[in-house]
Amino acid sequence: MTVESATSAETTTGADAPAKGLAPRVAMRAIAKSFGSVRALTGVDLTVMPGEIHALLGENGAGKSTLVKILYGALKPDSGSVEFDGERIADVSPAAARSRGIVMVFQHFSLFEALSVAENIALALPGRRADTALSEEIRTISRRYGLAVEPEASVAELDVGARQRVELLRCLMQDPRLLILDEPTSVLTPQEADKLFEVLRRLSAEGCSILYITHRLEEVRQLCSGATILRRGAFIAHVDPKAETVASLARAMVGSDVPVIAEERVSERSEIALSVRDLSLPRPGLFGVALKDVSLDLHAGEIVAIAGVAGNGQRELFDALSGEQPVGSGVLFLDEVDIGTRGIAARRRAGLALVPEERNGHAAVPGLALGENIVLTRHGRTDGTVGNGVVRFSAARRLAARIREAFDVRAGEGDPPAGSLSGGNLQKFVVGREIDRKPRVLVVNQPTWGVDARAANEIRAALIALARQGSAVLVISQDLDEVFDIADRIAVMADGRLSEPQPRHDMTREAVGRLMTAGEEAEDAA
């Protein structure tokens, strides 16, 4: 490990550094990084002052994660310099970064499920074992910051909110000088998010710098005193978010005005297309959620959105609707026909179309070409891709080409493998594959998760168009903006229960937030 002193004043203070004279906690200059032929970052600067809460803004694929991984030592830049507290960092590794006090709460949780909370924390603290002294320390710090956590609990049993508290606590116990958070509120209810902001403000007052990665612009305006905007791997601007509007921040991120989805729509509710009646399922395996008396009537021509924090039974509900998890008779009806005992292929024949949450490995096989991926959900007798047990790959390729055309899927020449597409394009492809069937009912789980803003808008518009043509659409989404954007009626999933869907105009974010925590309150009262 080698640290060189900064050579001169001008390398430490850039033109737009907030306070002259004071060394920034972090100064990254002209960072570039490529993965093979893909240039993830070109000439990116980032400056964070001590005690500052600084936002890093950009769309999916803008290079935020790459930049942060470089800062954290998980990736090495091809060129550029990193300074920490005025010292040039020559040596990049996670261990070295942590020894300087750079700690991170990851977007995809990086906890060890089979281990206890204390063991998870011990792993981040050099030389520590998960003994009673550590448990005591964990309790002390968890009380100080109001982060309720039980050291002896196994992580596998914790919900997402509690897991985030463990990650945060693990960071706090390392005496952080720079705390990096990657989309921390995407797994929290609005109320939990407010609690998180309190902790962050308190840390900032104690002198810890915070780098806050998000695409939720309203949060940035509330919380952050500076923001760096990236677009397609390039540095765009360093701004004061309090002086900006949500619209102006969005424009800077996307590079053009984001089209707003047509506001007023007349929803013509007609007959019930999909009906779920008192669906209860036991907890599937160790890490699942039990479904409790879920009931829902989905009408043709409408979009019902199910909001909720991930891990409250959304995945289980999707699997039950799709047929991947058997549900038995008397609980699930498509146009009055009981489809509960049918498998997924038979449900498709009955008019159901499905888009699961995970694109790679669930909705599509990354190693197979797009034309082959068509066959996954389109091998029924009427789809024209299979005859006498033989797959007509040429017909499937033509179908794939039609879907690429209709949904503006940008992919390589010929028939490239699904794994070579960007998240947004692959999502448009798998959504398009289902919409193209003109299904009676479409069930989509997290339609725009990890998708860039433009593709997200196109997908939402396509879902609305499908509903207008008379299909029933059920959208399961964690993204409240999306829920309010596209839904005719909104229901909330909490702890395996589903609230009664209400017309969008009768719902507020606060009401949705209260429903998200309904399960916990019921348990507290009991």
Binding site: A74, L75, F112, E113, A114, L123, A124, G285
Partner: protein, 306 residues
């Protein structure tokens, strides 16, 4: 010496190679690596131990050479499965096929040669206990080592920080890398430990169980050891019980053959294999139990991102 005592002594002898190999593989699997090459490492360990002991007249050198041969083969596995991330199942099979071939080739001149038998080292005091004493405490060094390893591995995994790191690596290698741990290095070390244990298991076969060299003398014990790890749900104490259970079956079928139950000897010889299948079935029925204990990253190739 009564019959119970004699039977117990042979059960310990038959269980020791299973225990040694399984406890080693347990550590490998807790680090997230599935090495199906146990049979290959064991048999190369057996021939190396026999050859060294035969050539030098020293049992100690035999044991060392068995362990080293196991380590050498396991490092070959690690080079492929850990460093260049080849499919672990296929690589383990390759190691077994290669090991069986190599042992046959090396061992050819030693077929039918008289071997060395490990000396019994009675433990003062304990060896005087009736029945238990002669069976467990008047034994060779590898029997004692197998006991020490069960306790040692048990404590290592449950209590030590290094054991915690090893479990973390087998659970979520990406997260371990994010915390600054050198996942591949830790995995290579675990694989090498497993190799040493398999080599020792082989050494016990050719220096204590049947002090001679015969081609294919491991007879599927490496595979039974692999099944034992699953059977024991990756817990050292249960590996101990499982190894002794299978050791007992192997010995009882020998005695049954001697007594002559009217069953063909082949049916008796098949008993340990069939018992393995039954044990696997009984255990695997409980999916939740299995899932709770299976190291989450077991068998998954890990490629660090840079």
């Amino acid at each position: 010496m009564d019959l119970t005592e004699a039977v117990l002594i042979t059960i310990v002898t038959a269980s020791t190679p299973l225990l040694l190999a399984a406890i080693g593989e347990l550590v490998v699997e807790r680090a997230g690596v599935l090495n199906l090459g146990v049979e290959g490492m064991m048999i190369v360990g057996a021939v190396a131990a026999f050859a060294a002991a035969y050539g030098t007249g020293s049992a100690t050198l035999g044991i060392l050479s068995g362990a080293l041969a196991g380590v050498a083969l396991s490092l070959l596995f690690a080079l492929f499965a850990v460093l260049i991330a080849t499919n672990q199942v296929a690589t383990g099979l390759a190691l077994t096929l290669f090991g069986l071939g190599l042992a046959g080739l090396i061992g050819e001149p030693f077929v039918g040669k008289p071997g060395l038998r490990l000396d019994a080292l009675p433990i003062p005091g304990l060896s005087a206990i009736p029945v238990i004493g002669p069976a467990f405490f008047t034994r060779d060094v590898l029997v004692y080592l197998s006991f020490i390893l069960v306790v040692g591995v048990s404590l290592f995994l449950a209590r030590s920080r290094a054991g915690l790191v090893l479990r973390a690596v087998g659970e979520n290698p990406e997260a371990a890398q994010n915390l600054g741990y050198r996942v591949r290095l830790i995995r290579i070390a675990a694989v090498a430990f497993g190799g040493a244990c398999s080599g020792l298991a082989g050494a016990h076969l050719s220096l204590a169980y049947t002090p001679q060299w015969a081609e294919g003398m491991t007879g599927g014990r490496g595979w039974i050891a692999l099944a034992l790890v699953v059977f024991a749900t990756w817990m050292p104490s249960r590996v101990f019980l499982g190894a002794y259970f299978f050791g007992a079956i192997a010995i009882l079928q020998l005695h049954a053959q001697a007594v002559g139950l009217g069953l063909p000897s082949q049916a008796m010889t098949a008993l340990p294999y069939i018992a393995t299948i039954i044990a696997l079935v009984l255990l695997s029925r409980d999916a939740i139990l299995l899932r709770r204990h299976t190291p989450a990253a077991l068998g998954r190739p890990y490629v660090p991102v840079r």
